[in-house]
Amino acid sequence: MATTSETPGSSFRLSMLLYDTRYRSLTIQVIFMFLMTIGFWWLVDNTLVNLAQKGKDIGFDFLGARAGYDINQRLVDYTNDSTHARAWIVGLLNTLILAVCACVSATVLGVIAGVLRLSKNWIVSKLMSIYVEIFRNVPLLLWIIVIFAVLTEITPAPNAFRGENATSSMLLFDTVAVTNRGTYLPGPLFERSLGDFDLGIVSVSTNYLVLLLVIIGSVMGYRALQRNATAVQEATGDRPVTWWKSALIIVAPMLIALIAMGFHLEYPELKGFNFTGGSYLRNSFIAMWLALTLYTGAFIAENVRAGILAISKGQSEAAFALGLRPNRTMNLVILPQALRVIIPPLISQYLNITKNTSLAIAVGYMDLRATLGGITLNQTGRELECMLLMMMTYLIISLIISGVMNIYNNSVKLKER
């Protein structure tokens, strides 16, 4: 009788928090949260107290002040009269363009190397093994510095192109100059430019916007044409001849737009100390791009190889039994299935590339780390603020990349119905 008269609620004792499995995990979590909060609070408080002791405050006013320094590679307008915030944007864009270029080229290289490493040709597969093992087992920073040093030391200075008996000459009918400062390429110019399109912070060239729209239109037209041809084929059994129509749809609008805007190429020319005119790829950019491509390409190659090996041999045997050639087997059967395995690690490689661009200071490439985290930090002495801003920027970029890639991953992964 005595045992049943007690209700469960009144029998609760404090020690049950520890000894009763119903409450124990909750207790541990609460204590852990409490300690975490205290630890975090201690860090923040300590920082603030120490800063206050040194007479420093935390503030972001410096972003509006005049930067006073110059940046060599600018994708948007920037002079030394611009603000530190603007320098931040210039650095951010330099980081992004490097990351995008490196992601694209590393993917292409990685896929090719990964597939070739599985080749039945002994020399090809061994060559690819050597490439992968060399590049992924030496630190990236060393590759960056080595490539930069090689570019600087073996290519001629602009001076070598000068005079009657120049020791160097430009390549490809005098249109490309490879120097130890960078590579000068012909650059696009528009005689009847449509001007710029101001977006507040950055201004976008309307010319390129128009070209982009034309390309999108052409692609959509081409797709419609193909769909139409397929429909006709399904109805009549004969596929209409479309090659000249598709060529016309793709090339003609582009040509018309280019001619309308007066497109022509501007060739680099040796003037004064340097080549002027055309487009200029600095060696710092090329070194970063090459190093990131080769290094990350090796990792992606391994991802691709793993993805392909994950597809059971029965799949390719079945494809061969159906009479598909090895090329088509790879493209139509293996790779689409392998993508499911390849994409998730590929996301982290893209994130790695983006974060590794911060090594750019080693070769003086003016990325986010060199502008906001380098010169701005140094000239203003706002270490904490600059570091926080930089961390935030990289975090946001990375989250966007993984977000977008996850959407893509969802679209290619095996649909279970």
Binding site: W42, K54, G55, N159, N180, F273, T276, N378
Partner: protein, 340 residues
């Protein structure tokens, strides 16, 4: 029982936080038995390790003099290499006690970055070095040139100002250290290398063919270089400041490393006696040191003139003239307030 442990841990943590309130820099240095001195990553004549791995140079001598004054031994210095980018963070965080790394005294560094400059050990200005083959004789002809600069320095800002004022353009190549700049410049990846004129002379002295490189006549800025300490400990700032002053005053008063023992026995000049601690005045006590501090500082590497001559003077490969850095009595700017 568990509760007690927890409370105990909290108390310990609280004590730790309270204990973080620091002692003075002087006490820290004495307790450590070593002075942490920030120097460059290697500028010949100013701060660079010699073939035996010993740090030598004009800025290094300041560190050694301070170590001699405070710890009694000029060798008790730990040299911490800093780049143009890392130096201020290192000083502000207390990783180094003082910075002697040809650093320009500017208002923003003094007031906004919260540092105390303890004097000027070298009056300098920013110059340009070019290869003579370019045929450039003036900085005004540098329109369109590619210029190597060390990032995070005042030279970066001066350069931007100078080219803007003269309506010229340039392509900056940011470089992290002097050694990298040298490599880039010699490979021809930049036409011009710009930094303080003393640094240019020091860099040129290490070239295989110094005669083929010219420093252009234009000096585009004032660069008073000197050691600095963090705000917040005036006593420490005083120690570094008066150690430097002692070196300059020693040259003015004719105290050299050769005759200092002789002079410290007592002279007819009361100021020498006060400085060397051979009279009853105890100047050292005012800055928390003993009576012999200045004597030890001067003995470490000689007076200002001796340090200059040994490291960067005309008889060295760097070959800098005293110029602005002569004593005020000889038409220069080096001047020490009186010791009394």
């Amino acid at each position: 029982m568990k509760k007690t442990v927890f409370v105990g841990a909290m108390t310990a943590a609280a004590t730790l936080i309270a204990g973080a309130a620091s002692a003075t820099v002087l006490e820290d240095v004495k307790a450590r038995g070593e002075l942490n001195c920030g120097v460059s990553t290697g500028v010949n004549g100013f701060s660079a390790p010699d073939s035996a791995g010993e740090w030598q140079g004009f800025d290094v001598a300041v560190c050694r003099a301070v170590a001699a004054a405070v710890l009694g031994d000029p060798k008790k210095v730990k040299f911490v290499t800093t780049t143009g980018q890392t130096r201020f963070t290192a000083l502000a965080s207390g990783e180094i006690d003082m910075l002697a790394r040809n650093t320009t005294w500017t208002m923003s560094r003094d007031a906004d970055l919260k540092f105390t400059f303890t004097g000027v050990n070298y009056y300098d200005g920013q110059g340009f070095m070019v290869n003579k083959a370019l045929g450039v004789s003036s900085a005004k002809e540098l329109d369109g040139a590619t210029v190597c600069i060390q990032t995070g320095t005042t030279t970066e800002l001066n350069l931007a100002d100078y080219f803007k004022a003269n309506n010229m353009t340039y392509e900056p190549v940011p470089i992290e250290t002097n050694a990298e700049a040298q490599q880039q410049y010699l490979a021809g990846a930049c036409d011009v290398y710009t930094t303080d004129a003393s640094g240019l002379a020091a860099t040129r002295a290490t070239f295989a063919d110094p005669e083929n490189h010219a420093v252009l006549p234009e000096i585009i800025s004032k660069e008073p270089l000197g050691p600095l300490v963090a705000h917040g400990d005036d006593q420490w700032a005083d120690i570094v400041r008066w150690t430097m002053n002692a070196l300059v005053a020693a040259e003015e008063l004719g105290i050299t490393s050769a005759n200092i023992e002789e002079l410290s026995k007592g002279t007819a000049n009361p100021e020498i006696d006060r400085m060397l601690g051979s009279s009853d005045d105890d100047l050292g006590a005012m800055i928390g040191l003993d009576k012999q501090w200045a004597k030890r500082a001067i003995s470490a590497g000689g007076n200002y003139g001796e340090i200059f001559a040994a490291n960067i003077g005309e008889s060295t490969p760097i070959g800098l003239a005293r110029g602005l850095n002569a004593l005020w009595t000889q038409g220069g700017l080096q001047y020490s307030p009186p010791f009394r």
